[in-house]
């Protein structure tokens, strides 16, 4: 990789505004296909399911939760690392986050939106979902705040607002920079978005303080969101789900799958928006180290969960363990262990961490493994509960697979629109890493 000449300030502005304004035919092609795929594979099957009933999915009596809930947990997982990564690294002042944190935060926001969409698809009668929101109504009925699902509702609204505020506040200076370079409807849009930001020292100082406070608030919020999502399962007395280790297990899983998601996105962003000079191999190197750390942590907690199950010795726990390790879903389980625990060990080698293609492959495999993990948590536990005569097998149907693929396409749609509306790399942060114009260090 030849070392690129460090861009000057002016070049930074030009590059990023160019990614914003010029939209080549390839972009429209990508956006068109993504939109088409998401409509055909997500909204049409969903509408069909709304008319005929959730029975289209493969769920049956004992395992009443299927891949829709796995989608929900997977997308919530993907949404975590964006904010966590940018918030944690902002507090630790690490320089290499500056180029990637904006798109990571955007990934958080859109993954959250897709997650709540998947929740709507999961519900049996989603047209009454508004009953789960605390609004005064003539029936004098309120949602049941004792339920972990209501923790979900509150946590996700808090996290949605939190991460969108965090993204917006960080992007105000960039909106101002773009405001001066564009015209027409974009000018009005960016003037409104930048709230008349002038870049005076007083504004910078206030921004710095506010941004740090938000970062400090977002981190516990993100951890609480995913432990609340794990409490949907851990609060039950189903033998496979009723473990106290579920909250940290889900949070680690979330960060792990989110970081892998970031690596994938970095690669695509770098390749198709020619941001080679901003997203450099050091980013991939550091992310690789982070992935290695998380994969070891995840493997440890997984082993921990199995160990506590085995140690309890109760017939229900042992049966769920056997079923998970050697039962109907065993190949999926061992595939997951291979993808999420064994392959990432290759990240120890620096050459692997810095070669982009292998990082992409490893991150995609990790995300596949994590999706399987979410699916297994549901199926291996729900299909074998306390009464052996009522055990059953769950296999996803075509409708569920198409809805998952549709949700990925929808995510790509959101992201493509984001890249054209909000500058995907934060200009003022990148400028900080460069030396001031023609000052020779």
């Amino acid at each position: 990789m030849r070392q690129l000449k460090k861009p000057t300030y002016a070049q930074v502005n030009d590059d990023i505004v160019r990614t914003l304004v010029e939209t080549g035919p390839r972009y429209y092609l990508a956006l068109g296909t993504a939109l088409l795929v998401s409509i055909v594979l997500f909204f049409l099957p969903w509408y069909y399911q709304l008319r005929t009933g959730v029975g289209l999915a493969g769920m049956n009596q004992p395992n009443v939760w299927g891949s829709y809930l796995a989608n929900f947990v997977f997308w919530i997982g993907l949404s975590h690392s964006g904010t966590l990564l940018s918030a944690v690294l902002h507090i630790t002042q690490s320089p290499w986050r500056k180029a990637i944190y904006r798109s990571a935060e955007a990934m958080t926001l859109f993954a959250l939106i897709i997650a709540s969409l998947c929740l709507f698809v999961h519900l049996g009668r989603s047209w009454f979902l508004h009953w789960a929101l605390p609004y005064p109504n003539q029936m004098e009925l309120w949602p049941n705040f004792r339920s972990p699902l209501l923790f979900d509702v509150m946590a996700i609204t808090a996290y949605l607002t939190g991460s969108s505020v965090f993204l917006y506040v960080g992007a105000i200076p960039d909106f101002a920079a773009v405001r001066d370079r564009v015209c027409g409807w974009r000018k009005n849009l960016y003037t409104l978005l930048s709230l008349g930001w002038r870049g005076t020292d007083m504004e910078w100082h206030r921004l710095g303080v506010a941004y740090t406070f938000l970062a400090v608030l977002i981190i516990p919020l993100a951890v609480s969101v995913h432990s609340v999502v794990s409490w949907d399962f851990a609060m039950s007395i189903v033998p496979g789900l009723h473990h106290t280790v579920f909250a940290p297990y889900f949070v680690v899983g979330a960060i792990y799958s989110g970081t892998a998601g970031i690596v994938t996105m970095m690669f695509l962003l770098r390749k198709y928006f020619s941001l080679e000079s901003y997203i450099t191999t050091t980013h991939f190197n550091n992310l690789g180290k982070l992935l290695l750390l998380l994969s070891l942590l995840w493997a440890y907690i997984n082993m921990l969960e199995i160990f506590t199950g085995w140690y309890s010795g109760s017939s229900a726990q042992i049966e769920t363990l056997n079923y998970k390790l050697f039962g109907y879903y065993a190949p999926l389980f061992w595939g997951m262990v291979l993808f999420c625990a064994i392959i990432p060990l290759a990240l120890i080698v620096k050459k692997v961490r810095t070669s982009l293609i292998t990082m992409l492959i490893i991150s995609v495999l990790i995300n596949i493994g994590m999706y399987i993990e979410r699916l297994l948590i549901l199926t291996t536990s729900l299909s074998r509960k306390y009464l052996p005569d009522y055990w059953g097998i769950y296999t996803p149907t075509l409708v569920e697979i198409s809805i998952f693929i549709g949700s990925v396409a929808l995510f790509i749609c959101f992201f493509l629109v984001f890249v054209k509306i909000v500058p995907s790399v934060s200009m003022y942060e990148v400028k900080e890493t460069l030396d001031t114009p023609d000052r020779r260090r």
């Binding site: 109504n137 003539q138 029936m139 003037t191 709230l195 008349g196 002038r198």
Partner: protein, 179 residues
């Protein structure tokens, strides 16, 4: 040059204006439908006037609606009961002829329901009549109505309010009113 948010707002002022007009129109349209096209007073196949029967002639409610004290449904009088009186009283009127047409063709009169609760609601006239609730509380002053109209909303909140006011035992338990 100088910078402020206002010029950008001006551009969108026109769009916001149009939206507000649309909103106001929406509210007006809804209000017009509710008040002038409401289904609270449907036109019945025979212009039966409660005011004449229950108001002036003081016929008690239970005379026609027999089962109000003994069953869930209050029951609507059979055609035979109408014929009993109208064989003799006021036989010439147009409406009474319509009644006799139905009777001669042996077809029941297809009355249109004014107070109709959804199917999942368990409402027992017996419990309310024996509980001392007057017919007028829910059906309104029927003895003054030429054409029966629905005054009460018959919504859940309205029922709950009365149950709380009257301190009905288990009044707020879901299965008291749901099936």
């Amino acid at each position: 040059m100088s910078i402020s948010v206002l010029p950008a707002l001006d551009a969108s002022k026109k769009a916001v204006g149009i939206f507000v007009v649309g909103l106001i129109a929406f509210v007006i349209g809804y209000w017009v439908n509710r008040n002038y096209f409401s289904d609270a007073t449907p036109v019945q196949p025979i212009e039966f006037s409660h005011r004449i029967h229950a108001g002036e002639n003081q016929i008690p409610c239970m005379y026609c609606h027999l089962y109000a004290r003994s069953s869930r449904v209050a029951g609507v009088p059979s055609v035979h009961k109408c014929i009993n009186c109208h064989k003799v009283i006021a036989t010439g009127r147009a409406e009474i002829n319509k009644l006799f047409n139905y009777w001669n063709e042996k077809k029941p009169i297809p009355w249109i329901k004014v107070h109709d609760l959804p199917d999942f609601v368990y409402f027992s006239h017996k419990r309310h009549v024996r509980g001392g609730v007057q017919c007028q509380t829910c059906h309104g002053p029927v003895e003054e109505m030429n054409r029966v109209t629905r005054l009460a909303s018959l919504q859940m909140g309205w029922c709950l309010e009365c149950h709380r006011a009257k301190k009905v035992e288990n009044g707020r338990d879901c299965w008291t009113c749901h099936k």
